[in-house]
């Protein structure tokens, strides 16, 4: 087998289309906005149903500070909950992987916990943790850890037992096998979960803010909704979308950097 030929075929090619990949959707989006603007104006659609994109933009620009502050606050809650949830998720996966009895006793409850709508007991969280950023992060944490646990366990179970035997034949301890084999091997699956968890954590933060808060995208959303401020709702959706896409993009970027070898073994 020709080493050089295979190499050439598999070397990561610096894609010249990369910029195009980013630019194309952006151009399409701009076009779509123009079309929507025109449609709203031409057909006289009421703001109540669909405000003009320019109205949404000017709504944000009227009080940019409020949206920025909301974005920052929600980002902090999300990031805190996401990081804590991911770490807890991985730790629980290790625990469940290591002790089958614990897994069989409690893993089903982990699944059950996710069927409980967090909004139903957000009040309890406020009761316990007060009106703090931490309380919202707890809600984010709660709805983001399970996918991480599940996928990490999936990643662990996909480890080739022969690989484990090989490590053991080198005299490796359990801790060495975990660190050098199981954890890296689970990374591709872990990142799939992290992408999902980042979106969930954001939902958690926004919903968490519905339990009494002064700033945050969830607050802006509620306020706009109950004042029938449709442009305000749209403005908040746009800002939430930016945050959601930003988080997703950040995790995807980390994935590309860290899991450079790809999911397939």
């Amino acid at each position: 087998m020709s080493g050089t030929a295979t190499l050439a075929a598999n070397l990561p090619v610096v894609s010249t289309g990369r910029i195009g990949v980013v630019l194309r959707p952006v151009l399409w989006l701009l076009l779509a906005l123009v079309v929507v603007e025109a449609v709203v104006v031409v057909f006289g659609i009421r703001t109540y149903y669909l405000p003009r994109p320019s109205v949404i933009a000017s709504t944000i620009m009227a009080t940019p500070g409020a949206y920025l502050a909301g974005l920052w606050r929600t980002f902090l809650e999300t990031a805190l909950g996401f990081v804590a949830g991911s770490m807890f998720g991985v730790v629980m996966a290790v625990v469940f992987h290591r002790w089958q009895t614990l897994r069989e006793l409690f893993f089903p409850l982990f699944i059950v916990s996710q069927t409980i709508p967090v909004i139903a007991f957000g009040a309890v969280v406020v009761l316990w943790f007060g009106n703090t950023l931490f309380a919202k992060a707890v809600i984010s944490f709660y709805i983001s850890f399970l996918p991480v646990t599940v996928n990490t366990m999936l990643g662990f179970s996909a480890v080739d037992p022969r690989q484990v035997q090989l490590m053991r034949s080198f005299g490796a301890s359990d801790a060495q096998i975990l660190r050098r084999l199981y954890l890296p091997a689970a990374l591709p699956q872990l990142f799939v979960a992290l992408k999902l968890a980042s979106s969930l954590a954001l939902v958690g933060a926004i919903v968490g803010e519905w339990f009494g808060d002064t700033t945050g995208l969830g607050v802006l959303l509620l306020q706009a909704m109950y004042n029938e401020n449709v442009a305000g709702i749209w403005a908040t959706i746009v800002v939430s979308a930016c945050l959601g896409m930003g988080l997703y993009g950040a995790v995807s970027y980390a994935e590309r950097r860290i899991v450079f070898w790809g999911g397939e073994q």
Partner: protein
């Protein structure tokens, strides 16, 4: 089909080992490096090995052939200390009776697939065993770097497994095995996944490396040509439960050239082995209605 005398001690004594490394090893020349007697292994109701007897002298390269599922990998797992045989066995390393688990970390083992870690580059895959032993990374890397050219991997140290061809991956796995310096090396079908042409190249290269490094090697293969081309002795195993059916000493001179496979001695050895193997294969290969 005849079952040969299983006293390997005697049989091996006659083997043509003129230019073998072991000759230089004056003290241990006659004492087997490893010796298995009455070794059986049962998985639930499956009897994988039954009363297996194997003995390998230092510096030997012994090849093992046998039908699929006859217990070859099981034998290796026992020798690597990963699996404990059924009670009542005798297992001696350098004459000292041991439990299989005592062998853990004492033999260097290369399993059936290359099992490279995709997130480690060539050099870091090669030093995996050294790192686990506790050698500082920099030192291990230095050691491995020096070995790269010999394994045909010079300049590839920073490549990742998915950028390598099958043959190169196998060489990295072999290098990892060689770097984990132990008295006994177990190679479980290292070339099984390669195409026939690449495999021929790898065989020749392995013989070179082996002669330079003077290791004792037990080598599993499905390919009779490979078994004869490489081995000082060929062990043919029976279908499950695995035992030694035939032990064939290979008296071909070393160093061996590629064209040796068309020599008359080679052909006659192949004939004998194929007959023995065929009988066993037919037992385990079921072509219903044919």
């Amino acid at each position: 089909m005849t079952l040969v005398d299983r006293d390997f001690q005697g049989a091996a004594g006659d083997a043509g080992t003129k230019d073998l490394a072991s000759v230089q090893d004056t003290a241990g020349a006659e004492r087997p490096l490893i010796e298995l007697r009455q070794v059986s292994k049962t998985f639930g109701t499956v009897k994988a090995l039954q009363d297996l007897e194997v003995s390998i002298r230092p510096g030997e390269l012994v090849t093992v052939v046998g039908p699929s599922g006859c217990g070859k990998s099981t034998l290796f797992n026992i020798l690597a200390g990963l699996e404990e045989p059924d009670p009542g066995n005798i297992l001696r390393l350098k004459g000292v009776s041991s439990a299989a688990s005592d062998l853990l970390g004492k033999v260097s083992f290369m399993p059936q697939r290359d099992l490279l870690l995709p997130w480690r580059n060539v050099i870091d895959n090669a030093i995996l065993a050294l790192e686990i032993e506790g050698m500082p990374r920099a030192e291990a890397r230095k050691l491995a770097m020096d070995m790269l050219p010999e394994f045909g991997l010079a300049g590839f140290e920073a490549q990742y497994p998915n950028q390598l061809s099958g043959g190169m991956r196998q060489r990295v796995a072999l290098m990892r095995t060689f770097l984990f310096k132990r008295d006994l090396m177990l190679l479980d079908e290292p070339f099984g996944a390669l195409d026939a042409l690449t495999r021929t190249m790898m065989q020749r290269w392995l013989l070179d490396v082996w002669q330079k490094h003077k290791r004792t090697v037990l080598f599993i293969t499905h390919d009779v040509d490979e078994a004869i081309f490489l081995g000082d002795r060929v062990l043919v195993m029976t279908a499950r439960p695995g035992r030694i059916k035939l032990e064939q000493v290979v008296e071909l001179p070393r160093p061996r050239k590629a064209n040796i496979v068309t020599s008359l001695e080679f052909i006659s050895l192949k004939k004998t082995l194929l007959e023995a193997i065929e009988e066993e294969s037919m037992k385990s290969f079921q072509v219903a209605g044919h």
